[in-house]
Symmetry: D2
Subunit: 141 residues, 4 copies
């Protein structure tokens, strides 16, 4: 099982909670940042959403927290798409501590395409479907 | 199916993202705030954790986003415990828009008890187990 | 010296930093939330900005931190306008701990009106100037 | 006038507000992250605070916002110490857009040393005073 998408993110001081480690909520922010970079790696950009009049909205998110991350930690986030459908797709993420290689968080998010004017579900533009289908991590080059 | 725990939270301006609605990550913050209030309603407090030398850490979180929330929305968050085990327990949450009664987010988090010194999993203190077991929403008064 | 504007805000768990108190940055969020409520009390709303094609942008902020705030603290935020000019105005804020009456933070922000299309400075709509001028805390009822 | 301290920070998606640019509050987070890096460049670390039983707390912050920053912008943050006193010191910051060289924010924060047990003001440990005095940007090498 391969993950064709990859980025890194460093934990900043202001992302710690009162226990001194990255708060569980903050990982969804890291996934958002990773997703933005993954889209770029897939050849897509925020401008493509505007150009096609669509939004990609998170409708489901599942996370397993295995280890704590702390200030200064470099996290490697790899990803792949999954279950690419006409109007939705999943992304899988694995966050590991770059220093130790240990998994910090496993996560998956389901994104749904919405018409940017009506906010109703809509079919993904062809460019998106093709890009998502090419990064499932099994058949993608 | 009843939810014996209940609190409300109002969306603040600074909790909106660039789309003008509450960001998906922010709901985990709302769950944290609700959990803190739920513990109080169960007769527990942050001081009890310190007194018993334990921490309650989120090890799993699953969320389904059904509707967007916006600035000023009052969210009702009801909750109940589930699968109360010696060293862990789940909490179920339903967030509804107070104005419309419509569900905004369904969520569940699994908390595990850790020894506050060793950060190793440990059994929940008796007072916690009893309190969690009394708020499963089926048998609780 | 009177402060004709007033709101309260309660510190939430997720607003604490790794020292266990409200982070210095977070007070600017509290000011934003207070400002939104102050505008409402002045008879203005976010929709008025859109209707007039203007934005009110913070161009200067000065804060003095006198005491720490902690989880659950209720903060009273009083405010007044100052130096109301054609294209800008200051707001003064005093944040006190509701339980003790002690000042937590003194702050002031300067807002400038921008044309929402060109993002260039512009004159405040009459309704805004009148509302701001009526809440300086000296002549206002 | 030179700034012997320097770091960079990239704007992340989740740091935008509902206007699509970095919220005014968030710059205080950037200053915190910069300060942490500046301390490292001065030869100090968070562990030094613990070892000496002191905390460095922000007691005043002043910011001027000149331009908006947006997603993906790389910000260069330069800094220098100022008015280094026995129990406090100022830091000046200039944040510029790396792509254009234009100033985004000018800021200054005053930090005070507190005894970590009593939370009362205390004299800075010698190592801190020396390090701060060596980075005022005028005499420092």
């Amino acid at each position: 099982m391969t993950y064709p998408l990859r980025t890194t993110i460093r934990v900043r001081t202001y992302e710690l909670d009162s226990f001194g480690h990255v708060n569980n909520a903050h990982y969804l922010h890291y996934l958002e940042e990773a997703r933005s970079e993954f889209l770029r790696q897939m050849g897509l950009s925020f401008n493509d959403f505007a150009a096609h009049g669509v939004q990609l909205v998170i409708v489901e998110a599942n996370l397993r927290y295995l280890r704590a991350a702390r200030y200064g930690d470099e996290l490697v986030i790899v990803g792949r798409t999954r279950d690419v459908r006409p109007a939705s797709a999943w992304i899988d993420y694995v966050l590991t501590d770059a220093a130790t290689g240990q998994v910090v968080v496993n996560a998956e998010t389901k994104g749904a395409f919405l018409d940017a004017r009506t906010f109703k579900p809509c079919r993904a533009p062809e460019a998106f479907r093709t890009a998502f289908a090419a990064h499932t991590g099994e058949d993608s080059p």
